[in-house]
Symmetry: none
Subunit: 419 residues, 2 copies
C-alpha cells in the first residue's frame, strides 16, 4: 500500500513551523509496511485542498491529512472534503461527549463554532481524540476514488500522534501484508563519494526489494539500508546480510548499525571497559566536552575538561612548555601532544584527548590555514601519545563540529583496538 501525507497550514509555507508531523506519520507507516510516496504542505484555501486531495487520492491508497479541524475560521479541511466527495456532515455523539467534557473542564460554554469539532463527514469512521477536542476521521472515498481512504487528523502533534498510535496504525496494519526493515549504518571519517567507491559492488548486487540511501549530515555520512517485501519473506534476513557486508567492508569507518551518536558509542565503550576520559580543548572551545556530556550517565566516565583558548591558559592549566609553543606554534602536533599529556596528569583519567587548530574565519596563514586541526590522544601507562593533523573546509561552527568528530574518532579507534 502506498500513502501520501498532506499537511494543511499557512505556517508551514512561511517557514514558521517545521513539518514534524510528516516525520512521525512516515515513521509510523513504515513500521507497518506502508510506504509514503509524497509529503505535501499546502495552504488552508478550500479550492487548493480540493484539488490536492483529489490528485493524491488518485495516486495513493491512503491520504493522511493533518490540520484544519479546529474551531477557528481558517479551519476548512472538512469543508474541502464535503465539496470533494459531495457529502454532508453529521454530529457524532461520542465526539460530542468528549468535546463537552473538555469544555466543561476548562470552564467554557459550548458554542456553535466549538460544536463544529464534533461534526464528522457522513459515512466516516471516527478517530477518538484522547488529547484534544476535534474528532478525526477515516473515510472510504467511494468508487470515483477507487475506494481509497482519506484520514483526517488535527495538526496539534500530541493529538495526531495519539490518533495514529491508537486507531490509524492498527486499522491499516490489519489491511497490510507487507513487511519493511530499515537499518542505519553510522560512519565517521569518510565522505559520501569515497564510501560509495568502496562499497560499489555491494550496491550493485543488492537483493530484490533492498535499497541503499546516503544520508550526508553535518559531521559526515550515514547509510540507510531498507528492505521491503511480503510478510515472512526473509525481509529481515536480506536486510541483515547487506548491513553485515557493508559493515565489514567499511569496518574502519562504521561505528554503529543502529541510531546512536558517536559520543554515545564512545561513552558505552568507556563504560564497558571501566575507563575514564578528560579533554583539553583549544579550537573546539568546549564542544568536545559538551558532546561527551550530552550522553546520560556521562559523569561515570567523563572526569573533566579544560578549555584553554589562550597560550597562557595552556601553560598554566596543562603545563604545556612555553618553548614548545614558541618553537612549533600553538597549532602544532607538538602542542597537541603536550596538552594531552598535561590533561592526563591533571585529571587522572585513563584517556586524554586534545584539540588545537584554527576554526576561522580569521587566524589562518598559508602554512596553517583555517580548518587545520592538530589532535592528541594520551593513554595512561603508555608513552605512545597519538597525534594527527587534519584539514576541514567549513565555516567556524562546522569546523568546530568536524574537529570534535575527528577527536572522538581517535578515541573510538583506540577503544576498539584495546577492547
Amino acid at each position: 500500500m502506498r500513502a501520501e501525507i498532506v499537511s494543511v497550514g499557512d505556517e508551514l509555507l512561511k517557514g514558521q513551523r517545521i513539518n514534524t508531523n510528516a516525520v512521525f506519520i512516515s515513521t509510523a507507516l513504515a513500521g507497518i509496511g506502508i510506504s509514503v510516496g509524497r509529503v505535501v504542505a499546502c495552504s488552508d484555501l478550500e479550492d487548493e485542498m480540493v484539488s490536492l486531495f483529489s490528485e493524491a487520492l488518485h495516486r495513493a491508497d491512503i491520504v493522511l491529512v493533518t490540520g484544519g479541524l479546529g474551531p477557528t475560521r481558517d479551519d476548512r479541511t472538512k469543508k474541502a472534503v464535503q465539496q470533494l466527495l459531495g457529502r454532508g456532515t453529521e454530529l457524532n455523539p461520542a465526539a460530542y461527549q468528549n468535546l463537552a467534557d473538555r469544555i466543561n473542564k476548562h470552564g467554557l460554554v459550548m458554542s456553535s463554532s466549538l460544536r463544529e469539532q464534533a461534526m464528522v463527514i457522513e459515512g466516516s469512521r471516527v478517530i477518538p481524540n484522547t488529547r484534544g477536542s476535534a474528532a478525526g476521521m477515516i473515510i472510504s472515498c467511494g468508487e470515483q476514488f477507487h475506494h481509497h481512504s482519506l484520514v483526517l487528523m488535527p495538526g496539534v502533534p500530541c493529538e495526531m500522534q495519539a490518533m495514529m498510535e491508537r486507531t490509524v496504525v492498527p486499522h491499516f496494519a490489519a489491511l497490510s501484508d507487507t513487511a519493511i526493515c530499515h537499518t542505519p549504518i553510522k560512519t565517521v571519517g569518510i565522505g559520501e563519494s569515497s564510501l560509495a567507491e568502496i562499497i560499489v559492488d555491494i550496491e550493485d548486487h543488492l537483493p530484490a526489494g533492498t535499497t541503499l540511501a546516503y544520508l550526508p549530515h553535518a559531521a559526515g555520512v550515514s547509510l540507510m539500508i531498507s528492505t521491503i517485501g511480503q510478510l515472512h519473506d526473509g525481509v529481515d534476513r536480506d536486510n541483515r546480510s547487506v548491513v553485515e557486508a557493508i559493515a565489514k567492508r567499511a569496518e574502519a569507518f562504521v561505528y554503529a548499525t543502529s541510531e546512536v551518536t558517536l559520543e554515545e558509542t564512545v561513552g558505552a565503550m568507556l563504560s564497558a571497559q571501566g575507563r575514564s576520559v578528560a579533554v583539553a580543548e583549544s579550537c573546539t572551545g568546549g564542544l568536545l566536552a559538551s558532546r561527551l556530556t550530552d550522553v546520560p550517565g556521562a559523569s561515570s566516565y567523563f572526569l573533566q575538561g579544560f578549555v584553554v583558548y589562550s597560550n597562557r591558559a595552556k601553560q598554566r592549566n596543562l603545563g604545556v612548555p612555553a618553548e614548545t609553543i614558541e618553537t612549533f606554534g600553538a597549532v602544532s602536533e607538538e602542542v597537541a601532544r603536550a596538552m594531552a599529556i598535561g590533561c592526563l596528569e591533571k585529571s587522572g583519567a585513563d584517556f586524554a584527548l586534545s584539540t588545537t587548530g584554527i576554526a576561522g574565519p580569521s587566524g589562518g596563514s598559508p602554512e596553517k590555514p583555517v580548518g587545520m586541526v592538530c589532535l592528541g590522544l594520551a593513554k595512561r601507562k603508555s608513552t605512545n601519545v597519538i597525534s594527527r593533523t587534519l584539514y576541514m573546509h567549513g565555516d567556524r561552527k562546522q569546523n568546530k563540529l568536524h574537529f570534535s568528530e575527528a577527536a572522538l574518532r581517535e578515541l573510538w579507534q583506540c577503544l576498539r583496538e584495546e577492547s
Copy 2:
C-alpha cells in the same frame, strides 16, 4: 510571484530526516515578497520527479528543487529535468574548476561520477557552490511552461543556504515589485504567553500590512515583525515603529532586534567594554564555553573554561572547599559562588560564570529535582558575587541549553547595567 518547493529524497518520506531545507527556503523567499504555495517531498524516482516538476511548473512561477545533484546513483534530479525539458547537459568550466580544486584538496582523483557534478542542463544559469562540489542551476523552462523558472540546488543544508543567499535570492529579488520588511526581536528569560500578555495592546493595534509571529525555539521565544506593501510605501517606517514599541515595553527581555544570538550579543558587549570572561561548568558540561567560542573573534575576550564534572575536579581546579560541597551539596548556590570565585582567580578574567545543576535524566531528588540549576557570576574588584537558582523542564540536552542560556543572560544583564 508564487513559488513551490520540492525536496527530493527517500529519507524525507521514510521519516528519517526532517525537511528543514523547506523552512529555510520559505523564510528566504518571504523576505523578497515571494509566497510559497506548496512544499512537496518526493522520492528520487525519475518518473515521479518528471510529473511533479511538470505540475508544479504549471502552477508556480518558480519551482525550487533540493537534492539529487550528488555523485551517487540515487542522484537523479538532472536526469529528470533532461527528460522533462528535452535538453542535454554540458560541462560548466567554472563548476569543473571548483570541483577539481575540492577533489585535489581532499587528495582524491577525478572520476566520471564525480565529474558529473559539474555537468549542468543546457541553457541554465549556474549557481556556484561555495561549500561543496555539485553545481546549482537556475533554468528558464521555455514556452511550454510559461517561461517559469526551475531552480536546482543540492540537499546539503549549508550548500543550499549559501546558494540561496549569494545567488538565488538576489536573482529573484530583482524581478519582484513588492517590498517586505522583516525584523526579528530576540528575547531571553520570558515565555510565549507571558510575552504575549505584556504586549497585548501593541499586538491589537498593528498598522495595516504588519503581522507579528511568535517563534518559540529551543532556548526561548523570538518575535518576527513582518510588514508587506508596495515598494516605497512606508513599509520600513511602519515596521520600525512596531519593533521600537515592543523593544521598549519588553526591555528587560529583549537583547536584540536583528538576527544575532545571545552569545554574539554578549561577545560584542565584552569587546566594546574591553573586558574578558571565563567559565566554570558542571551541568552544562562545556556547552557554555562552546557557545561563547562559536562567535568569530571570541579569543579576544574568552580566556578559558573549566569543565568540572566531578567534585574532585571542582576542588582541585577551582579551589571549591570540600566543606562547602559537603554542607550544601554540589548543586547549591554556595558551590556555584565558590566555582565563580575560583574561576575568576585562576583565569584572571573580568567576569567568571559558573553552572552547577542536574541535567537528568537521573540524579534528581525531591529537594533538588532534574532541571534545577544554580548559577554564579563573579566580577573583578567586586565582592558581590551573584547567584541564582532556576528550574527547567526539558530532557538532558534541552536542560543543558536552557542552563547555558540562563547563564548568558546573567552576564548580559550585568554588562548592560555597567555599560
